[in-house]
Symmetry: C2
Subunit: 203 residues, 2 copies
C-alpha cells in the first residue's frame, strides 16, 4: 500500500488542526472546520485520531515541543547570564513572529485544564529552573547583579517577552497603534527588552 498517501493525509490533518485549534482553542474549534481546511471528509479525522480530544492532545504536544527548546535557551544554555538574556529575547520574538498563536494557545489550554501541566512536567524534555538558579546565585555572589530571587527574574523575563504577543489587541488599543506600528514596536523589543532587564539587575 502507498503509505505516502496516508502519511500525507495525517500531516494534512495535523496542520489543519494546528491552525484551527491554535486560533480558536479547544472549545471554539469544530471538527468540520478542520476537515474542510485539510480538504478531507470529517470521518477521516476520527479514522486517524479517534476523537477530538486525542487530536487536540496531538496538537498540544507538538506545540509544546516547539516551545520547550525556546525556554531551554534561557534556562539551560551554557552562555553567560547577560549574553543569554540578550540571546533569548532576540530569538524568542523571531520565533513568535513565525508562530503567532502558539504561546497563547499553550497558556490558555493550561488554564482551562491545569492538570495538564502535571502530565507535562513528567516528560523528559520539560524545562526546569534549577540550572538557571545556580547561575543567578553565582552572579549575585560575584556582585555582577543585584540580589533578586531567580523565580522573580525568570517571571520578569517571560512576562516582558511573552505578554506583548498575548495581549496584542488590548495593547494596540491602549497605546493607540495600528498593526504596522505595533509590529515595529515588537521588532524593537528584540533589543529593547534585554537592555531593560539588564539595566535593572546589573550592579
Amino acid at each position: 500500500m502507498d503509505n505516502l498517501k496516508s502519511e500525507n493525509t495525517e500531516i494534512e490533518i495535523l496542520n489543519a488542526a494546528k491552525a484551527v485549534f491554535q486560533q480558536k482553542g479547544m472549545d471554539g474549534t469544530r471538527m468540520q472546520e478542520i476537515a474542510d481546511k485539510a480538504k478531507i471528509n470529517k470521518a477521516l479525522l476520527h479514522y486517524y485520531f479517534r476523537s477530538k480530544q486525542l487530536l487536540f492532545e496531538a496538537v498540544f504536544s507538538s506545540a509544546f515541543s516547539l516551545l520547550a527548546p525556546q525556554l531551554n535557551t534561557i534556562l539551560n544554555d551554557e552562555s553567560d547570564l547577560f549574553e543569554k538574556i540578550i540571546k533569548f529575547t532576540n530569538n524568542y520574538i523571531s520565533f513568535v513572529i513565525e508562530h503567532p498563536y502558539l504561546p497563547n494557545f499553550v497558556i490558555q489550554e493550561l488554564n482551562r485544564n491545569p492538570e495538564f501541566s502535571n502530565k507535562l512536567r513528567v516528560k523528559e524534555n520539560f524545562p526546569t529552573i534549577d540550572k538557571f538558579k545556580i547561575q543567578v546565585s553565582i552572579a549575585i555572589e560575584k556582585g555582577i547583579i543585584k540580589p533578586i530571587e531567580t523565580e522573580q527574574l525568570f517571571i520578569n523575563i517571560m512576562s516582558l517577552n511573552v505578554f506583548p504577543f498575548i495581549a496584542e489587541p488590548l495593547l494596540m488599543a491602549l497605546t493607540n497603534t495600528d498593526k504596522e506600528n505595533y509590529n515595529q514596536l515588537l521588532q524593537n523589543r528584540k533589543t529593547e527588552v534585554s537592555s531593560f532587564i539588564i539595566n535593572s539587575i546589573k550592579m
Copy 2:
C-alpha cells in the same frame, strides 16, 4: 410591582454569568450552567438578556468597567512618575487577587474578536496613553529617567504586572512552585515589580 424581585433576579443572573463566562470564555460557557448557578430557569436568561451574545456583552462591559480605572491609575493619575509606578503595581496585584479571571477574560475575548476593541475605544472612559506620554518625555528631558519610548515602558509595566496572573499554571510548572508558594511570589511582586522597573529606567 415588586421591582426588587426582578432586580435581584437580574443581578443574580449577571453574577452567575460573570463567574461562568470569566472562567470558561464565550465558547466554553453553557447557558444552562449560568441558570443553574443563578438557581433559576434557563428561559429567564433569555427573558432578561435575550441571547447568549447580549448577556456576554453585558458581562464583558462590566468587566472592562472594572479594569479601566486600574489602568487610569498609571495613565492619568496626577502623581509623580516613580510614585505612580509604585502605586499601580501595588494596587493592581491586590485588585487581581480579588478578580482572578478578569484580566485574562478581557484579553482572550479581545483576541477572539478584535473588532471589540474598536467598539471599546469609542467609549468615553476608555484609557489613553496621551497624558502619560507627556509625563514620560518631561522626565526624560529633566534627566530623571533614561530615554525610552513611552509605549515600550507602558508595555513593560503591563507585562510585568499582568502576565504572572495569566500564565499562572505555566509559570508554576516552570518554576516548580505549588499554589501557596506561587501566591507568596505574587504577593512579593507588589514591591518587587516597581523596584525592577524603576531600577531599569532611573538615571
